[in-house]
């Protein structure tokens, strides 16, 4: 048996103090009675103010001494060795992702995990420390190397579940940084196991072992996993995908609304594991449509989905070219682009365009805005050095988002301008001889191709339309993307030209102001539902919308994972000396003391 607060033993001084009080005599007032022999011989000292008297036996004294002794025993907080093991530094990783909101265990998976963590905190010894990390879409340190159990309990109780996924890899990396080499550390991951893929890095291993504590039991859930509005030639329709992820058949009703007005109600029945696609009507003037099911399952986050029904406004793009069908086709793949193609001789700089593309042409004055220049002719301020032959083509940075899904392995280029000394911007695609494609962010997003597309087989490769699409979406992202995002996914908002203020109204009505006039990344997308972007242009407020929905089969499946594949534990990095956990018994001792005090109170009132 150990004591968590041995210093409290000084409270034992109260015992002799109680005895000393019984040595004191009471200053008693004299009261004359007719017959003294009728009164029982009963003396009990309840207060003392005159020293001293002979100590007499008293049940009250005995009970008071016993109560004081038991209270002192409780104050030193004795603990017994528990059956579990606990490291000196415990790193507790708590999954706060959306799936932890499931109520298959009451009150929820998160609350169950918090309860288990509370038990772990109670087992901490006086020298033990704990670090709490909330594992959400971005890991968050709740408490860092804390030994105060009350503070840890408060920190745990203040944790709430988010709507996003759980990035365990980032959380483990963060936790690994908090444990010093050589520490006696152990990580405990409380989760349902529905986490993102673990990024494996052969060079990294964890400086502590990870113990996975699974919470959750059931996978019974019906979820809406997709809602898309398609505009056809004649009408618009919404395509809704829903699935019963459980094993039991369920009947439920589907409410279909447009702009918060009920459009349709359907009764549906899905067998266990069955999925169903529905085509739902979208009114012509609808801005937002939403679907809601009343399945009464254990997970509510995927029971309501929302989609923007209004067609986004199109960008006007100018292509100045003597003729380039490949480029024209690739640009036209974007549905929100209205392309104007003109010959170099017909180019007029006075017409404003959202983006201009100059193919083998350079205007006298470059537009003050986004553009793509391809093989600018000699004499142009964008032109590079004399053309040189090009060998192997490769990406400057394979991880560059602009080259996502762009395969350059079988692309060949005959020759290109020498852009080695060009200061246009950073290189995107390069070769052994010279950079081939340069991009820059300031003052506007612009790109420069040093070669003529016709002197390359790039337009014949699948990489070409993808590259053009990536570049156009980078240079000209949708002002407000109308498609659905996942919770906690950042949304890029490009303010309209002349916008003086940009405000995002979240589903709960809260407002977030963004800096007007600059491309902004909006990250407060933790709530599911409809987000309204309000832009004030010339005193007029324009509204556009985007939605955030769960739309995750992995999360809606809700099936707790029995095992997790985690990075290896580097045994050599830490001297792992596990000590026994501790079970506190002082609450029971304090309860016994309370009982003795009650007994003493009863004895006092019964005149013992």
């Amino acid at each position: 048996m150990n004591f968590l607060a041995p210093a409290a033993a000084f409270l034992a001084l109260t015992l002799p103090a109680i005895v000393a009080l019984y040595f004191l005599r009471i200053r008693r007032p004299t009261r004359v009675v007719p017959a003294l022999n009728l009164w029982p011989d009963q003396i009990r000292d309840r207060q003392a103010n005159v020293p001293w008297q002979r100590l007499r036996f008293s049940w009250l004294l005995l009970l008071q001494l016993l109560a004081a002794a038991v209270l002192v025993a409780a104050a030193v907080q004795p603990v017994l060795s528990a059956g579990t093991s606990l490291a000196r530094h415990s790193v507790v990783l708590l999954d706060v992702s959306a799936s932890m909101q499931a109520r298959d265990v009451q009150p929820s998976r998160l609350d169950e995990a918090k309860r288990e963590i509370g038990g772990l905190i109670d087992q901490m010894g006086p020298q033990d420390r704990m670090t709490l990390v909330a594992v959400g879409s971005a890991p968050r340190i709740i408490a860092s190397v804390v030994g105060d159990r009350d503070a840890l309990h408060r920190a745990v109780s203040g944790i709430g579940a988010g709507n996003g996924p759980a990035d365990l890899s980032a959380a483990l990396a963060l936790a690994a940084g908090l444990v010093r080499p050589g520490d006696d550390g152990q990580a405990y991951f409380f989760s349902d196991g529905i986490v993102g893929p673990i990024r494996t890095d052969s060079n990294s291993s964890l400086p502590f072992p990870v113990e996975y504590h699974r919470v959750g039991v059931s996978a019974e859930n019906i979820g809406l996993t997709s809602l898309v509005v398609r505009t056809g030639a004649q009408s618009r329709a919404a395509y809704l995908h829903l699935q019963n992820f459980g094993q039991q058949a369920r009947s439920f009703s589907l409410d279909w609304s447009a702009d918060s007005k009920l459009v349709d109600v359907r009764q549906l029945t899905l067998a266990g594991g069955q999925a169903q696609d529905l085509v739902l009507p979208v009114p012509a003037d609808a801005t937002v449509v939403s679907a809601h099911i009343d399945a009464g399952d254990v997970f509510a986050l995927d029971d309501t989905v929302t989609a923007v029904a209004r067609t986004p406004s199109a960008f006007r793009v100018l292509l100045v070219t003597p003729g380039n069908v490949f480029l024209q086709q690739a640009i036209s793949l974007r549905s929100d682009i209205q392309l104007d193609v003109v010959a170099p001789s017909a180019y007029k700089s006075s017409v404003p365009y959202a983006m201009s593309i100059f193919d083998r042409y350079s205007p006298p004055t470059l537009p003050n805005g986004p553009f793509i220049a391809i093989d600018p002719p000699a004499g142009s301020p964008l032109a590079g050095g004399p053309a040189i032959g090009i060998g192997r083509v490769r990406a400057t940075d394979a991880g560059d988002p602009l080259l996502t899904n762009v395969d350059l392995s079988d692309v060949h280029i005959a020759r290109s301008q020498d852009l080695r000394s060009d200061t246009f911007g950073r290189s995107l695609i390069t070769s052994l001889q010279t950079p081939l494609v340069l991009v820059r962010d300031e003052p506007f997003r612009q790109a420069l191709f040093g070669f003529d597309l016709h002197e390359s087989d790039l337009p014949l490769r699948i990489a070409f339309p993808i590259l053009v699409q990536n570049l156009s979406e980078w240079i000209l992202p949708p002002s407000v993307p109308s498609h659905s995002f996942h919770p906690d996914e950042p949304v890029t908002i490009v303010p309209d030209t002349g916008a003086t203020s940009v405000t995002v109204v979240r589903p709960d009505g809260s407002r977030r102001s963004l800096a007007g006039g600059a491309v902004a990344t909006f990250g407060d997308t933790d709530l599911t539902g409809l987000y309204t972007v309000e832009q004030v242009v010339s005193g007029k407020t324009d509204r556009s919308w985007f939605t955030v929905n769960l739309f995750s089969d992995q999360i809606s499946q809700l099936k707790p994972a029995d095992r997790l594949t985690l990075p290896p534990f580097n045994n050599a990095a830490a001297v792992h000396a596990v000590h026994r956990g501790q079970l506190e018994i002082w609450p029971w001792i304090a309860l016994a003391a309370l009982g003795i005090v009650v007994l003493e109170w009863l004895a006092f009132h019964r005149g013992l």
Partner: protein, 290 residues
């Protein structure tokens, strides 16, 4: 006289009389039926004529029928000898209202009822020993003197009931009223037993103060005996209060049982009961007065 009892109370007391269960044996004529034969209107018995008898008592009708001289005997009416013993020990000098003062007033009221009925009243107060209240009082003219004497007695001292045995035992058969709180170191039983042996009928009236029947204090005190002055430390709690009340009830029960065993009436009175209510209601209900 007015200081002890109010005139209105005295007027109401005049309508009362001591109620005896058997004939009395007084020394002087009075208004009570006597065990002796005498002159009254109440026929008692016949007996044969003996020379020397008053021939005016011969029943001539009986002589005509029986041809014998028969004397008609009548019940003699004599005074009722009433003895009042009043406890004026230290324990009686206690309570609100004071027990001794109440005892004096109660004794005065009973004595007044007797004197108004031409009964003879002997007064004795006692504490450590008996103190005679003087020669027996008789007639209304003695009321003022009795009251004055009653008021003049001091209060205090220990109670020794054993010393009541001799003055009680020497009494002629009659009525005795013993007024006491029944408390004290010694037992009252010998005195009550002496009353029985002396063929006294009457009553034992236990007079207590309300504060001793229901103590209104708690806490740590030093108790002092009102008679002996002995002291003892004491803590009053509900338990000790209950213990005291049980002892008091036992003492009262012992006195009541002792009185009833000797054919005496018993009642416990509280000093907060008005004196007229004690006399006109309680003692009438007890059968001591009628």
């Amino acid at each position: 006289m007015a200081a002890l009892l109010d005139p209105p109370l005295l007027r109401r007391l005049e309508g009362l009389a001591l109620q005896v269960r058997r004939a009395v044996s007084g020394q002087m004529g009075g208004e009570r039926r006597s065990t002796a034969r005498g002159r009254s209107v109440e026929f008692a018995d016949f007996r044969s004529y003996s020379p020397g008898d008053d021939f005016r008592l011969i029943d001539w009708n009986a002589y005509a029928r029986l041809d014998r001289f028969m004397l008609r005997l009548f019940v003699a009416e004599q005074e009722l000898p009433l003895s009042i013993f009043v406890d004026l020990s230290g324990s009686m000098d206690w309570g609100r209202p004071n027990k001794a003062e109440t005892a004096k007033r109660l004794a005065g009221a009973i004595a007044y009822v007797a004197l108004a009925a031409l009964d003879r009243v002997r007064l004795t107060v006692f504490a450590a020993g008996p103190t005679s209240g003087g020669a027996p009082y008789r007639g209304r003219r003695a009321v003022a003197e009795l009251f004055s004497r009653l008021e003049s007695f001091p209060v205090g001292g220990t109670t020794d009931y054993a010393r009541l045995v001799w003055p009680v035992g020497k009494q002629r058969p009659g009525m005795t009223v013993l007024i006491s709180d029944g408390l004290g170191e010694s037992s009252i039983d010998p005195a009550i037993a002496a009353l029985g042996r002396a063929r006294q009928e009457g009553a034992v009236l236990q007079l207590l103060a309300p504060q001793e029947m229901a103590p209104d204090w708690t806490g740590d005190v030093r108790l002092r005996d009102s008679e002996t002055g002995a002291e003892r430390e004491f803590t009053s709690t509900p338990v000790t209060q209950a213990s005291y009340l049980a002892a008091l009830a036992q003492r009262t029960h012992d006195i009541e049982r002792s009185a009833h065993r000797r054919g005496l009436r018993f009642v416990r009175l509280s000093t907060d009961q008005p004196i007229d209510d004690m006399v006109l209601r309680t003692l009438r209900r007890l059968g001591l007065l009628s």
